[in-house]
Amino acid sequence: MALSEQEILAGLAEIVNEETGLAADAVQPDKNFTDDLDIDSLSMMTIVVNAEEKFGVRIPDEDVKNLQTVGDAVSYIQSAQG
């Protein structure tokens, strides 16, 4: 069953926290991964791969650059779930 936006956000926040140590409640839809959360491209790749595993989706490398904000990622995962 497809997860809600809120559930995806919570799951993503958990992954970001695991990878970066950032508090989960700092991971909000309007936050930019690079400018607001200070996540570099290597950490982003880890987050993406962990998100693929957690949500059972595939996020091709060429799509990762379009995921600028946490909200972008949540929407992408939600639509990829089908």
């Binding site: 695991e18 140590g21 950490s43 880890t46």
Partner: protein
């Protein structure tokens, strides 16, 4: 050799995580009490691979208890140990305010990130390339720990990683000293780290018959100079020191533990792994350290021996000490602290350098444990059972470290 007008280098901070303790005070106290850090390994891989050696000297405090979770995720265990030890050393030195362009980091490893290398290979085989952690390469490279410390402290005068097997940690201290003497840095964080208690190095060392197989009594297995010694005990951990020019240390009012006087570095060109039984390369290292430091054999009152508890190596080193110091070798209190810590490979020289510094600072040579039945060929004064007081006045200690590949490093320290 000209020793006048040379920049005096002093030791102002100490840090370590070892099989005896998670920091320097705990480690030193355990060493004075003659405790062993060797224990049976409680990992499923010991049985899975039917390892012939089932014990080792693992760090007493897990890095997860010393570092943030995100730090342990991004560093190989060798980097984790180094970072924990460097933080202690830096704090112990008074967290100096220093120009980053004058601060260096020299942190050695004998083997590098073997856990990361092999775990990542398992991930590649089982889950494919996309699941290989993006920081795999910076984690497995042997200069990873040095780089982590450089980043932590903002060291920009140069970051280096000497690799010379079990002489690496001592070589790092020599390199750091040279950075200060050559004018490249005022202050250097230097030492060694190792995290190789992994089934592959255990199997490899065991295949060479280098490891003790005293599986029924791990605490008694590391027994340098004892007639019953049968190989070394694999250890792990890190030792890091802060060294600086005396001028820099005095200008900031730092506490000075000891002077790092000089070092001698030579090579055997004899055999890839076996020591030269005459110990001539090791002798030359000690002599060079003495001569280049303007020291005489009579100045040396204490020596922390490489003494790993192998049948051939321990005696070769004693021959070398006799060869370098002549009759003055008779009044040297020799300690073989690997009897307690096991062999920390690339961190050994750094940890034993710290023991030398503390021995001078506290005027107390740590004991050699498990020396119940000395090998009849041992004709020098080995400190047994209890710590031995060292004399007052200006005294010198030597630290020997030797590595596979024929590397010999002797480092000289003087009391202040």
């Amino acid at each position: 050799m000209a020793t006048e007008n040379r920049t005096k280098v002093v030791v102002t901070g100490l840090g370590a995580t070892t099989p005896l303790g998670g920091d320097v005070p705990t480690t030193w106290q355990a060493a004075l009490e003659g405790r062993s850090g060797a224990r049976a390994l409680e990992h499923d891989w010991v049985e899975r691979y039917e390892l012939p050696v089932t014990f080792a000297a693992e760090v007493a405090v897990r890095p997860e208890d010393q570092l943030a979770k995100v730090e342990t995720r991004r560093l190989d265990p060798s980097g984790q140990y180094a970072l924990a030890a460097a933080r202690e050393a830096w704090k112990d030195a008074g967290s100096p305010e220093v120009d980053p362009l004058r601060l260096g980091a020299v942190v050695a490893s004998g083997i590098g990130g073997v856990w990361t290398l092999l775990n990542s290979y398992d991930v590649l085989k089982e889950k494919g390339p996309r699941r290989v952690f993006p920081l795999t390469v910076p984690m497995l490279m042997p200069n990873g720990p040095a780089a982590a410390i450089s980043l932590e402290l903002g060291a920009r005068a140069g970051t280096h990683t000497p690799v010379s097997a079990c002489a690496s940690g001592a070589e790092a201290m020599a390199y750091g000293m040279d950075m200060i003497r050559s004018g490249r840095a005022d202050i250097v964080v230097c030492g060694g780290t190792e995290a190789a208690i992994h089934p592959l190095p255990i199997a490899g060392f065991a295949a060479m018959q280098a490891l003790s197989t005293r599986n029924d009594d791990p605490a008694a297995a590391s027994r340098p100079y004892d007639a019953g010694r049968d190989g070394f005990v694999l250890g792990e951990g890190a030792g890091i020191v802060v060294i600086e020019s005396e001028e820099h240390a005095k200008a900031r009012g730092a506490r000075i533990y000891a002077e790092l006087v000089s070092a001698g570095l030579t090579s055997d060109a004899h055999h890839i792994a076996a020591p030269d039984p005459e110990g001539s390369g090791a002798s030359r290292a000690m002599l060079f350290a003495l001569e280049s430091g303007g020291l005489s054999p009579a100045d040396v009152v204490h020596l922390n021996a490489h003494a790993t508890s192998t049948p051939v190596g321990d005696l070769a080193e004693l021959n070398a000490i006799r060869g370098a110091l002549g009759k003055d070798a008779d009044h040297v209190a020799i300690s073989a602290t690997k009897s307690m810590t096991g062999h920390l490979l690339g961190a050994a020289g750094a940890l034993e350098g710290i023991f030398c510094v503390l021995a001078l600072h506290h005027r107390l040579a740590p004991p050699t444990i498990n020396l119940d039945d000395p090998d009849p060929a041992v004709d020098l004064d080995v400190v047994r059972k209890d710590p031995r007081p060292l004399p007052a006045g200006d005294i010198v200690a030597l630290n020997n470290s030797f590595g596979f590949g024929g590397h010999n490093v002797a480092v000289a320290f003087r009391s202040v």
